[in-house]
Symmetry: D3
Subunit: 246 residues, 6 copies
């Protein structure tokens, strides 16, 4: 089974860390290939960053379709371009926010999210509402850490995240915590140890969900509103989408 | 990894069929043990049947705790006793309705449920609301087949289910169908072939979800409201619960 | 009119106190008979305790059906086995949580719940959502008192409850308080006096609701999903349910 | 116990019929006094009719306060002026729509409403949402009968209502029916007989709920947002409200 | 274009101030006429005050219908009589709470409301739920200022409002603030300057929305439930409504 | 006042038609400039088309920021890139779906949407839920017309839309209809005449809403989650976003 992990930002070091976290959790027969778009922002911390990166996600899915990928993971906590990506392939596509929320509801009745910047909390709130999990999430918290500060083995950032997780544990009436950034993927174990309750991180969660869907033989439905987009002319720098769907 | 599939009713032939479906989907390293309570109803088609069978589920979890089970599956579409079961173990516990709903939202934007008897639709509706998926489900449909009619390779029952699935596909504006009974586990492939869109069945879905959770090292949270029940005296035929939690 | 008050736990002293509170509020022509199952836990403080006690509730309804009971009350704040009980009889069946919530919305626009242990708050939250009252309840609060501490005229427990009620009154923006435990039934008047706003307790509320429903000639609907369960074989210690519905 | 039934419209014959229905269901010790405002519309079939009749309801509560009334009933299915009325008295005030919805959820999992004119369905929908029962009601149906056609023992109107109730029973997946007009109060028994499932009517339901609340010693909360209105000058034809609260 | 601004209370000085605020914002071709009912309360601070003032709103719409008004504004934050007013005219009718909520969602993802008295918060909450904006509003706050204290250039009141707005800005995670009283209309600019984020006030917002609707040629739908009320006899002081709809 | 109407697809003839419809409704002092991105799809009929076109919307806002635009309109019914666009400017940004929904709730209690292709209905459903209008919309209907078929004075397409609108009017219990495509902007009057109830179209609605917001001096909040994106490196074909925010 070949799972393509798409880091929607262009920071190769983060892609590598995310890929490593994915590999560490993958089942024996699973091949992980972690990629990121050539074009886009170095980190995703706003709706605008998300809009640009969604194009990169789509491009990576198109590339993947030529390489017999079995499932895709969109490895940014805002799940940018998730629905578009699903239209472009028969393979399952999973967002890491989505994956983490699903898993959290399976091991606890209520969870909180600890994310990077407060300004991205609204993105998590919108996703929670759209996915149906608004009632399961007590609170979306931010450690106020820019995404790229997670890149350099930053102990101060780690401590800030742990501190916010502890506040969530002590104040929110929860059973588990969802980490709100793909860049936290390799910290999960240490955070969980420090906090003492289940800590769910989306990259690893989505690898296992992808394996599950592929194992079940389930594909993204092509009946109805996730069918392949109708072919049509695209112009300018997107002209290569005009006839290149498959 | 050892997954205990608990069929909450007492029909051993159904337990065997469910177990076989679970084994067929399980990963190489996964051991499936399918069990059913000694005490309870032969099928579950009402709130009352559910209430009785929830005791059986609890008992099977207690038994499992002495046998180093890694995850439990509650293999009846009403997920009877799910929350109680979660309190009794650190291992993940997954209901098949829950599992099927989660998977359906990952491969389609909207789904319908096709269940056995119309009177059980309310159980599915309550679960959909509680899990957060009420907005993703267009309709809960019933083929009006008593559960045990699924037991004997019943072609008429199969045809009724397929017919209802086709109506769902054509009228409901959906991308996938959730089968609403554990007894349909071994029919999934044939139904999916006949209907032509993703058909999700909970026994198989929950095996893969259980593997995913165990693979992630996630356990049922013991922080907060799913903690082990406080020990206390039980009387009468439940007296053996007084001090036998583990 | 004969109202059967079922205390779902096995603590006879609590049954007696609940029965006395019910009698004190009953109309002249109303006969109260308070019972508790022989089998089950001494108190109900978890989903597991609830699952076991639901069987006791069902058994007491079956017994009641042979004694011309006109209405049943399930006198534990989690309303365990309520839907199952409704299937087993044509008589109205009322849960005390449900009754208290209904009454609270009739005398105030918003209420808070003050219950025993924090771990049971999730049960109240689930009921509020299912009954439709989630928007009317500001907060579910816990005095962190184990249920049986209410048994011995415990002044410390009483003070803890009153203190929590006062916090609810002063912080929550509410008009009334719902007491979240059947064991508080005989404290209602004193708590209300101490707090100075309407305090609603479910045992008394459900006695009056039961009288109301019986007075109206309303019975539990047998059209649709609360119809009597289909008769079927039960095995083991539940074998006596095989043919003993009526 | 003295229950004041306020018919918010000015049709005395309907007031008499409503009063009779209320008396027929009242407990031995309950005195019913049915009144209607002197000023207002002969029937209530729009938001505008409701707005005018809300003044009449307020005036009748003010009158009642001088006559030691123990509870008030607002006997129009839109519950006009309900919140205002609650502010004006310490006594419980119950709307008949509200009462019927509450009772319906106690005897069935889902109900439909059968009301008079289609244009008033939106009023019922708004109330269902506000009271929390939107999820319990499958459908608001109209028999398209003007309210006053119910006044003269109209068999054609009765048949239209029964026909619509039967459609609700057969198509909506419900367990009970709520009648959506105070003018149907004396038809309830016949309709229920004709339809064969619990039929709930608000006038009778609210009499029993009023008895229940008074029996419990519960009054409308004067803590918070239902407190008596702040005294203030009123001008013109409402000048008599300036200092006449009590 | 002629916009009739109806101040539902009878305080002429407030009507003048509201009218002035409306004129200041109106487009060149827009004529503002600000009126208030002759009959009713000097301020609106409860459901009861609202019920009385709704009659005044209806009367003013009736008067306006003889004067070729193009749109109506109901200039009290509880939007009293809004639906009734809509039934009485083909012209658009806009409530100032409604208008402010709509505008707030267009310039921010989340807002808070700062209103006068805490007891009116429930009115705002009910409107938010009914209009669909409950999820966009973080919190309804009160400065605990009686409405008429806003009348005399009251600096203390102004400071209290600003202080509450600052708390909203700093604690609620919002992007804008909605002022919860028509009497604050002429303070908006100063408050916005003092607080430093978009402050939305309903009188001005509704003038622009009214201009927008009239500009679009949109009228209140007379198809369905906002059609003109059916003509019918009214008695007593409301007798003039019997045949005077237009 | 300068309003920039951004047609997110690249079909210049549609841009012209949309611009003309916008000009026809604009107030005297309003300048309309209609543009479309150079790069992107000729029409938008899927999540993927939306994702690509969102980049074009962002680019057009960036261009507009150098040209003193006072407000932006995103003239595609899926409101692609709306939140991103809001982050990029202090000016108000309005989506045409959003605008149409707001206006529809001001002139009716319930509306239906008539859109082009059934596969885009999910986009409208997601927007309705996110904006808070899910409860106000009875049904999203599709005439099954590809967007570009609206381009050539297509009478057959017009008739299909009218036919679907009539079904909505007759079956859905609504007061108004929202047209679900920017390409229908110049058909609104004819459709409304043919159907006989208020028909709301988003391009015109958003012009008037934009005028309203600008008239009120309201800007997109830069406090909180719609603040300008943090500057950061972009690579590849998006490199020009690295430092070119303004």
């Amino acid at each position: 089974m070949h799972i393509r992990v798409i880091n929607p930002n262009t920071t190769a070091s983060m892609t590598a860390r995310i890929g490593k976290a994915a590999e560490a959790i993958a089942a024996p027969g699973t091949r992980i290939s972690a990629v990121n778009p050539q074009d886009g922002p170095v980190s995703i911390e706003s709706h605008f960053d998300e809009a640009i990166s969604a194009v990169g996600v789509a491009e990576e899915v198109r590339r993947g379709e030529r390489e017999s990928v079995d499932a895709y993971i969109v490895a940014c906590f805002g799940d940018p371009g998730l629905m578009a990506a699903r239209e472009l392939t028969r393979a399952p596509v999973i967002g890491i926010a989505e994956a983490a929320f699903h898993m959290a509801t399976l091991v606890s009745t209520r969870f909180s999210v600890v994310t990077t910047l407060g300004r991205t909390a609204i993105i998590a709130e919108h996703l929670l509402a759209s996915y149906g999990f608004a009632g399961h999430c007590r609170r979306v918290r931010a450690a106020e850490i820019p995404v790229l500060e997670l890149e350099d083995n930053n102990e101060a950032a780690f401590e800030r995240i742990v501190a916010e997780c502890r506040r969530a544990r002590d104040e929110d009436g929860i059973g588990s915590i969802v980490l709100g950034c793909g860049g936290m993927a390799d910290l999960t174990g240490r955070i969980s140890d420090a906090v003492g309750l289940p800590v769910i991180e989306g990259v690893t969660a989505s690898v296992k969900l992808a394996e599950a869907l592929v194992g079940l033989g389930l594909h993204t439905s092509k009946h109805g509103d996730l069918a392949f987009p109708r072919p049509k002319p695209f112009s300018g720098r997107f002209a290569d989408w005009s006839d290149a769907r498959h």
